[in-house]
């Protein structure tokens, strides 16, 4: 499994998924021109990664300043994929600025539908 690294642009976030450290992150802003095209490799990577069945702790740090409505749909797809593993060694850290209430609420809305994995809302 190779590391997935995508540099951030003005409208797409930095992606750094690392199968050696098992700490992964999505960082920045997300309103790409073509959401599906941007996120397809990301979703494919997660699929293959989960299929490998790593048994230790896995962390996904999501630190977004802004995401548009179609990115929101993709984020839900990602969380669904993670949650479907029913593996409580998977942890999502939803990281937002202390004074960013909107981002905190978005986090809470995702959290409401997560049943198995750990979902933490973290201020920085």
């Amino acid at each position: 499994m190779t590391r997935l690294q995508i540099e951030k642009t003005k409208s797409s976030p930095e992606i750094d998924f690392n199968p050696q450290t098992h700490t992964h992150r999505i960082l920045g802003e997300s309103y790409p021109e073509n959401t599906t095209q941007f996120y397809d490799p990301v979703l494919d990577w997660i699929n293959s990664y989960l299929a490998e069945g790593y048994e230790g702790e896995m962390t996904f740090n999501i630190e977004l300043i802004y995401f548009n409505s179609s990115s929101s749909k993709i984020l839900l797809d990602i969380f669904d994929m993670l949650d479907e593993t029913k593996n409580d060694k998977i942890r999502v850290n939803w990281i937002h600025d202390e004074d960013d209430e909107a981002m905190e609420e978005y986090g809470e809305e995702f959290e409401e539908d997560i049943k198995h994995i750990k979902f933490n809302i973290v201020t920085k």
Binding site: Y66, N68, S69, E112
Partner: protein, 179 residues
């Protein structure tokens, strides 16, 4: 000649409180460039961060709607859509208006969807947003079909919209969000 009346045109826009307006082919470069300019402009004029982010978020949804759904484009596969975007401020309130041509055959569905949306309260909007995000059955939608709901949730008043018939095939659709 338009160049001689350009000042009066600008003056008219200023009097309406218009911060920014764009009319023509809208591409992703506009989304990025103007979005960032808009954010910096509001930060410089000490607009509250929450308000600035709401204006930015609605701007993005409005512009991406024009790009994805305008029926006025060079060809069907074009990454640009023709339309108009207006962002302004009046008595401390921000307005973001988007407009583009749509097919007459799409008017009634869009109109009833929007009527349903503007009648919803905050909790209903949230539930509808989550339901739409989970079960996306709108094949016609290039995005997640969530844009209008997102706009309605960010706006501080119900969205207003209108349809004006242009000819037998097209209507002009416009939608406004206030913050």
């Amino acid at each position: 000649m338009l160049n001689q009346s350009l000042y009066s045109y600008k003056d008219a826009l200023d009097k309406e409180g218009i911060i920014f307006t764009f009319c023509g082919p809208i591409s992703h470069d506009i989304v990025e460039g103007v979005g960032i300019t808009l954010k910096s402009q509001m930060q410089e004029s000490d607009v509250q961060r929450t308000t600035a982010m709401k204006v930015f978020a609605i701007f993005i949804e409005q512009v991406q709607n024009v790009i994805n759904y305008s029926q006025e484009r060079n060809d069907l596969e074009s990454d640009m859509g023709m339309g108009i975007i207006v962002v302004g401020e009046h008595e401390g309130k921000y307005f973001i208006i988007g407009g583009n041509k749509i097919k007459n055959s799409k008017v009634s569905t869009l109109e009833s969807n929007l009527a349903e949306l503007v009648a919803m309260n905050r909790d209903e909007l949230k539930a509808f947003y989550k339901q739409k995000r989970q079960y996306n059955d709108n094949d016609d939608s290039k995005g997640a079909g969530l844009g209008f709901i997102e706009m309605a949730r960010k706006a501080s008043e119900p969205l207003t919209y209108s349809f004006e018939k242009i000819d037998d095939e097209y209507s002009f659709f416009s939608i406004e969000a206030n913050i």
